[in-house]
Amino acid sequence: MNVEVTITVNGTAHRLSVPPRTLLSTLLRDELDLTGTHVGCDTSSCGACTVLVDGDATKSCTMFAAQADGSSVTTVEGLASNGELHPIQEAFREKHGLQCGFCTPGMMITAVQILERNPSPSEAEIRSGLRGNLCRCTGYHNIVAAVQHAAANSGGD
């Protein structure tokens, strides 16, 4: 028997009927076609599936869609607003903070939360904040640099 899920994603309200075992990542990707949320491991280890659930960076591969009932979710597709990239998106693009791009959506969502909690993080604080998101391409160097760049551009110092 399906469950009803009411969920606001990137500002749009949805009412969906899905099997109870549907994961939030599956709902976003398969039901709402928001394929920018990537799935790399299914076990919360890689962080590619990270989205904001009521403002908290959350690994959507290990949360049931039903648990997100009533929540407001932001995915990578919802970061830009009014035709402008989010400063984090701009920074990852400008500072070459990606290679293959697969971890990038989850990495950026986590970075958004880092900067919301601390607009001027140190390198160590950025690395600590990103520790749940694996990148296999970059060695993290340009990712850390991109977050630093976004912090500087967003008024942090």
Partner: protein
């Protein structure tokens, strides 16, 4: 005949750092990766993976799975035609199609835990998974062969009864050694007697995985005309096309591989696992499109790893600081089927050192592990570990400076590598000199936190780089921008590095060349993105296609001006008459007037480059060790590498950093941790310990540019080299810190504690 090019420095696009063309798609979530593909009527595929490590398949009963509502098809090896017993070049390695088919769908035996035995297509993924659970397989369990020593022991269980080994030219049946080969010149045995110091060590390595974050995936449709269309995350869409065709029994031309974004590969996505299964499932499901995605345990247990094995090195030096004799022996785990990276291991083993008396023996050994795959400079890190730690020990024993010793013995143009091949122009000496003179090498170590020990190590690594086949099409637009089709999958910014080479010739901005990667029917043959070949070979094609475009535009300008085409010149983005200074047109102005001169301009270039420019890297690592826990922290890290010419320096640096990070993980923590029964124990990202952001410092990069004379801009290739040097720099730094020479990888905390305990007497 290989063309040679003069080195130039006055570039306007090459060497700059434009934002990549696909950057916007990748920061907005718009980029379409393989798992994002959706088609009308899509159904899901799944596979049964064996829990056996080594077993004979007695029977497969699929009847209960077939009865489950929602199931469209169940397939086993009986649904596949028997693939030809032929070898096919895949860019980074050679694959035997019959063995590859057995690897994709087991026939008589399973050779590792996770080996696919059957496949299912069903209405949704949960139904497919449930159907897989209902398949019953009877096995005769066989004893596992877990490593090269067990595989080569007398009376070892034989994995492949039909394998006839080639052992130094002799055909040998009933063996687990597929190939044993020797490269020898000079008189190594005699030369060792003339040495003042001989050091001999053997290192052992576990399998490691490429660890790409994107899982393997494939979607396939087998239509009513027997044409198959596949979408697979791959480094080579032509490799997917060829392998799928061979495995499902169709001509190459009946398979089209579509281009999708790839979420990392590092060599592990050069062979196909899922497309042939998805295609056969589609055929049996009334031609519905079938989508398959591997889960992470399957990725670890049944795809990829780089070979573990053993590498022995014996090196002799004379007291004047010269290496006089070398004897190496490498034994690599191929996995369940032949084909480890042993050849590249030979090529890389002592490439950095000029030795007159040299022998290298290499063994390709089948064991009960997943078929090994290429992993970034495949075969190079393993030999780097052995050779670079022996070099370090020799320098310590003799009191020699580690940079000077490497300079005194450095390979140069004309030096004979361990495989017997003479080097072309290489930049090893220039790179060593930059490292020797660097801030890092000349800075004091600094003080670690109280109780910790700090050490510094250095390691040198090598890769041949690749050439091969590539195609680029350029299509001039009315507005003077250029659309570019190329056949290389873009893993790390190669759209930009290829477009930039066309833009340089055309006098355009990098962003005026618009790159696309179409499907295999829409672009000429292009080899796999691997072996550090793309910026070199596909870039070469872009350069050549751009020259053709300029030549054609000169003809059009001549037509427009009513002058002889030999009178037209092109420089700095302007076409002009050599004889009449009044006649000149900018590139974009001329492009807008093509209609008056004979229609659109499209040019193409297909190249097959026989040779590539070899490259070396050197890494300096400072690390701290906590003697109480054995934990290692890398505190400063520098990467030096000869790129030939960095087309896009940011992406070159990014390759150097990414490769170093993988090599650091390989050296310190990553391994296939095997159970007693030969199955992998740590098949998740939690237990397979790849570096996180907390494990690494910022990675300092130093691009050395010694132009490759075989490329118009001097490109060598950069992706492979940086994974190798950490396997030397890290153990050498550990020895510098705590005075123990570890000979087993990974150099994890427990191993360091054991070594410290042994050193301290207990």
């Amino acid at each position: 005949m290989v063309a040679t090019f003069e080195e130039k420095t006055d570039y306007s696009v090459v060497g700059t750092r434009p934002i990549r063309h696909d950057g916007l798609d990748k920061v907005t979530g718009r980029a379409v990766y393989g798992a994002d593909v959706k088609l009308p009527g899509l159904i899901w595929g799944d596979v049964l993976r064996t829990d056996q490590v080594h077993a004979r398949i007695l029977s497969i009963d699929t009847s209960e799975a077939e009865k489950l509502p929602g199931v469209f098809a169940v397939v086993t090896h009986k649904d596949f035609p028997i693939a030809a017993d032929v070898e096919v070049e895949t860019g980074e390695e050679v694959l035997n199609m019959k063995r590859t088919q057995d690897n994709v769908m087991a026939s008589d035996k399973v050779l590792y835990r996770g080996h696919v035995v059957a496949g299912v297509a069903a209405v949704d993924r949960n139904t497919a998974t449930e159907a897989v659970r209902r398949i019953k397989v009877e096995y005769e369990t066989l004893p596992p062969v877990r490593n090269v020593d067990e595989a080569m022991a007398d009376g070892a269980p034989i994995l492949l009864e039909d394998l006839v080994g080639n052992h130094f030219g002799e055909r040998v049946p009933n063996t687990n050694v597929a190939i044993a080969v020797r490269h020898e010149f000079g008189d190594p045995d005699g030369a060792f007697d003339e040495c003042d110091l001989v050091v001999e060590r053997e290192v052992s390595l576990e399998s490691v995985h490429q660890g790409y974050i994107e899982p393997h995936n494939a979607t396939a449709v087998w239509d009513e005309n027997d044409h198959v269309r596949v979408w697979e995350s791959t480094q080579g869409m032509f490799a997917v096309k060829e392998q799928t065709a061979a495995l499902v029994g169709l001509p190459d031309s009946n398979v089209t591989a579509e281009s999708v974004e790839i979420g990392g590969g590092f060599g592990g996505k050069t062979k196909t696992y899922l497309s042939p299964v998805a295609a056969i499932l589609s055929r049996k499901s009334n031609h519905r499109p079938v989508k398959m995605v591997m889960d992470r345990p399957a990725i670890f247990m049944a795809s990829g790893p780089a070979p573990g094995g053993k590498v022995r090195v014996k090196m002799g030096v004379t007291k004047d600081g010269k290496i006089h004799a070398f004897d190496g022996k490498l034994r690599y785990e191929a996995g369940g089927y032949p084909g480890s990276s042993f050849t590249a291991g030979i090529n890389c083993m002592r490439a950095a050192y000029d030795v007159a008396n040299s022998r290298i023996d290499a063994y390709d050994v089948v064991v009960n592990k997943p078929k090994s795959a290429a992993y970034r400079a495949p075969g190079s890190p393993q030999v780097c570990f052995a050779v670079e730690t022996v070099v370090d020990e020799i320098c310590d024993t003799m009191g020699w400076d580690k940079m000077q010793f490497r300079l005194d013995n450095a390979s140069k143009e004309g030096t004979r590598n361990g495989n017997g091949v003479m080097f072309n122009r290489i930049g090893l000496v220039e790179m060593l000199e930059q490292a020797r003179d660097s801030d890092h090498w000349n800075s004091p170590l600094g003080e670690p936190a109280p109780g910790r020990k700090r050490g510094r190590g250095v390691g040198v690594g090598f890769w041949m780089n690749g050439g091969g086949k590539s195609t680029v099409d350029l299509m001039l637009q009315d507005d003077g921008t250029v659309a570019m089709n190329e056949g290389s999958q873009d893993i790390g910014g190669s759209r930009a590095s290829i477009a930039m080479q066309a833009a340089e010739v055309l006098g355009l901005d990098a962003h005026d060349v618009h790159p696309s990667i179409p499907n295999t029917d829409e672009i000429g043959y292009t080899g796999t993105t691997g072996g550090s070949r793309v910026t070199y070979a596909t870039g070469f094609a872009a350069w050549e296609a751009a020259i053709k475009m300029v030549d054609e535009m000169k003809v059009r300008a001549a037509t427009l001006w009513g002058i002889d085409e030999d009178d037209v010149q092109f420089s700095d983005g302007m076409f002009s008459s050599k004889s009449d200074p009044e006649l000149s047109l900018g590139f974009k102005d001329l492009a807008s007037r093509l209609g008056d001169t004979g229609g659109p301009i499209s040019t193409t270039s297909s190249v097959n480059l026989a040779a590539a420019g070899n490259a070396f890297g050197l890494h300096i690592c400072d690390l701290d060790i906590d003697p109480d826990t054995g934990k290692t922290d890398v505190v400063r890290y520098s990467v030096f590498q000869d790129a030939g010419k960095a087309i896009h320096p940011s992406y070159v640096e990014n390759q150097m950093q990414g490769g170093a990070a993988q090599g650091i993980g390989w050296a310190l923590n990553e391994e296939y941790f095997m159970n007693e029964d030969g199955s992998m124990a740590n098949f998740s990202f939690l237990d397979y310990r790849m570096p996180t952001s907390l494990d690494l410092p910022m990675l300092e990069t130093h691009i050395v540019e010694v132009a490759n004379p075989m490329h118009p801009f001097g490109v060598r290739g950069v992706g492979e080299v940086p994974i190798a040097p950490p396997l030397g720099a890290i153990p050498n730094a550990i020895n510098d810190a705590i005075g123990v020479r570890l000979q087993e990888q990974p150099m994890k905390p427990g191993r360091i504690l054991e070594a410290l305990a042994a050193k301290n007497g207990g």
